[in-house]
Amino acid sequence: MDRRTSLRLLYGLAAVPTLTWHSRVFAAPNVPSRFLLVFMRGGYDATNLLVPYSSSFYYEARPTLAIARPDANNPNAALAIDSDWALHPALRASLWPMLQRGEVAFIPFAGTDDLTRSHFETQDSIEVGLPLDHLHNGSGGFLGRLADVLGADTARPIAFTDNLPMSFKGGPNVPNVSLKNGGGGFDERQRQLLSSLYAQRDLSPMVDEGMELRSKVSQELRDEMKAASRNANSAKGFEAEARRMARLMRDDYQLGFVDVGGWDTHVGEGAAQGPLANNLSNLGGGLAAFADEMGPQWRNTTVVVISEFGRTFRENGNRGTDHGHGTVYWVLSGGLNASVKAKPIVGERIAVTQNTLFQNRDYPVLNEYRSVLGQMFGTLYGLSPNQLAQVFPGAKMQGNLALV
């Protein structure tokens, strides 16, 4: 018996009766769902993305970093979503219109119970997706297990990264390719030579798939360059990458992963403008472009944006923030539930005061990531409790997050 089998036995059938989640089987969707996980590596400052503007403590704790209270006359002011929360103004051109259309929701106080505050360890442990006290009892990551449960043909997974991320390990064969700069492809002649080396070998389909994916990406890039040379607007940064991802996910793939870095803002992170604002604007622009490029498929597509942890609620002496705990997850979809469209701040919440901070420094975690993602996968893919228990062994589904 290998570890994976034993894991299933440990948490699968045997464990289900003791779990607290509803025994209902999620309704199976009739259109294939597309899902993209965006991992912001570095622990982004969620407190300035989703501004708790009704909290006076926020303005005390962040003398130089706080975003001004909503004010129609101030372009640097936060954009009010409800009476407590407002959006960073860097997202005015990208996520704000989507939010108005009911295509964006936020889950504050989200995250993992992992308390190491180490980037790598926390990222890995989230991607592994196992209970923290049983972290060592499994292998692979939760997207890999999801692809396994769904079967490779239904999942049609892809990682838009140079290396296969931890989240996709241990599943079926998952192609990966970075769309950042698209370098590394082979020309058509070399591609055929490499492919012919494996003709009649059992690895041949994998070789062809790997080469084909790279070639497709190179072709995309050539097309973009052609378009650019005709003075068409050339997308920059993450937007270009996101449009390429969308074209692949629209036509060929359904379960994607991408990571974006540069969020570790210990020093001079800026407020309404500055490095964090630029990063948010870049990411927001990319996500809006992704939604746009998906076209009619956007209705069946869900994007979840996560990060390993939030940052300290108070700013530090370097006009930055340090490693914290609870964060804010983003959910984008053309098919959000009506209730979410009306009230786009979802999940368990708590008033933001000095007393409610975790360890008197960070947001607490009230919406554990496995519960959040588990419920979402349950709905998107119509998973049974047993199947969910394979993806997130031992997870307790808290609340009733009917997002999509």
Binding site: S118, D124, D162, N163, L193, L197, R201, G210, N318
Partner: protein, 548 residues
Amino acid sequence: MFTLKMAWRRIGLACCASASLVAVTPAATLAATKVKAVQKAVQKSTAENASDDARWLARLAYGINTTDWMHLRKIGRKAWLDEQLHGDMPLPDFAQAQVDAYLGAPQPLPDVVTDLETEKRRVNALPDGDDKQTARKALNDRAESAWRNAVSAQLVRDLYSPDQLREQMTAFWLNWFSVYRQKDNIRVLVADYQERAIRPHALGKFRDLLLATARHPAMLLYLDNFQNAAGKINENYARELMELHTLGIDGGYTQQDVQELARVLTGVGVNLKHESRPGVMRLPPDLQSQYQYDADTGFEFNPIRHDRGDKQILGTTIGGGGWDEVASTLDMLARQPATARHVSERMAEYFLGEVPPPALVQRMSETFLHTDGDIAATLRTLLNSKTFSDSVLATPGSAPRKFKDPQHFVVSALRFAYDGKRITNLRPVMNWLAQLGELPFDHLTPEGYGLLQKDWASSGQLAKRFEIARTIGSGNDGLFNAPDDGANAAAVMVMPDANAGFPMLSSKLYFDLIEPQLTQTTRDTLNKAASQQEWNMLLLSSPEFMYQ
């Protein structure tokens, strides 16, 4: 075609031509024909032997290079295997100098960690500002380079050590007793772990290896046993010790056994702080003789944290005691038939690249049990088995079946491409291992990396390997730049070899050993190469090179 490849071909042909001339000189027709037939048979069998030897070497080493090949041909497989199972040949001087430069003089680990922690406190106390950030980065670089140097030193050994089997087994055991560098200060401990806990025992007694890891702070920190104390049990290490390190998941132990082993392991910890070294002084007098401290590693057995009650493990009563109780329990676990099976099975997987037949595992287990867990003896049973020779030598015309893991792919490509040349900068090699997903000490969970084709063969992996093959084949790889920051350039005393552009993979070694084994498909493809660089890329990307 291009000239250099042709030149090697011509040399090859010239050799054959002169040999056959000698063969036909003694003349009477009938006799000559007979002689010819015999000669031909001898030639054929020598050629087959050479090809068998080449496959054999490719499997037992990190791929072939000229030095190891010549040595094997000189002394023959049997003597070569004896040497390998002994595994105590010196590194070539230049490689030893490189390893020494990477590792530096051995330093007591409490000193290393205390220095690091002191510096961390100093940096944290600095006023906020650019200086603090610079200092923080320098500190992180220092800790990170300790890990990089450990990996680089191991890569130098993989590339140049004549003890190829010991180095493969070092990699095997590092993976079996996997630790993760990002936890605590483990990244500054891994060099010592690799050099002093693992490699010396890689071909020795399994129990010594198990005990060396059980006394090493890298393991005790990684699996949290430093927090395991009487009344404050932490089962993490105990569980993995049974499941991964000894008995195996099907080894017939229960949750109760895990809990009891956790009790045995209470008090087994680390003390890496200078100021609290004389911890023994604070103990009650009757416990002082039980206290153990290793000033080189920071290992500590603290009897006041140890549960001194009796325990029941696998139906055996373990009398409460001190470290002797821990040692004898680990010894008992190391000698279990389940452990023998588990070790044998995984070692066979590592060298066969597939799940081994039960009969072979049975025979290896018997050897393991008869020899008190002798790793070399158990390996000998495997390597002398028909299963192994069938797997390596295959049937005529069939190809080796062991899919290389990333480390084997990268190292074998370099041993072959830069045969005998001194690689001075290992940073690109680490980057490739990172891209292919098998960086040492980078696996979060303790089961380590997978050993089988299914664990590595994927479309992204293959495409990435082709890209690395292209980089190596074109010579644009930075391997001959000045030594990377980790090694002290002055100490290395190796003048970087002038980087003579791209490597020549169409070498004598190629024509002698690789070319005869290529399939027609691969030959046809190679013949379409437009340049030596492209030819190099295709050869390193070929199925013949993905397997060993």
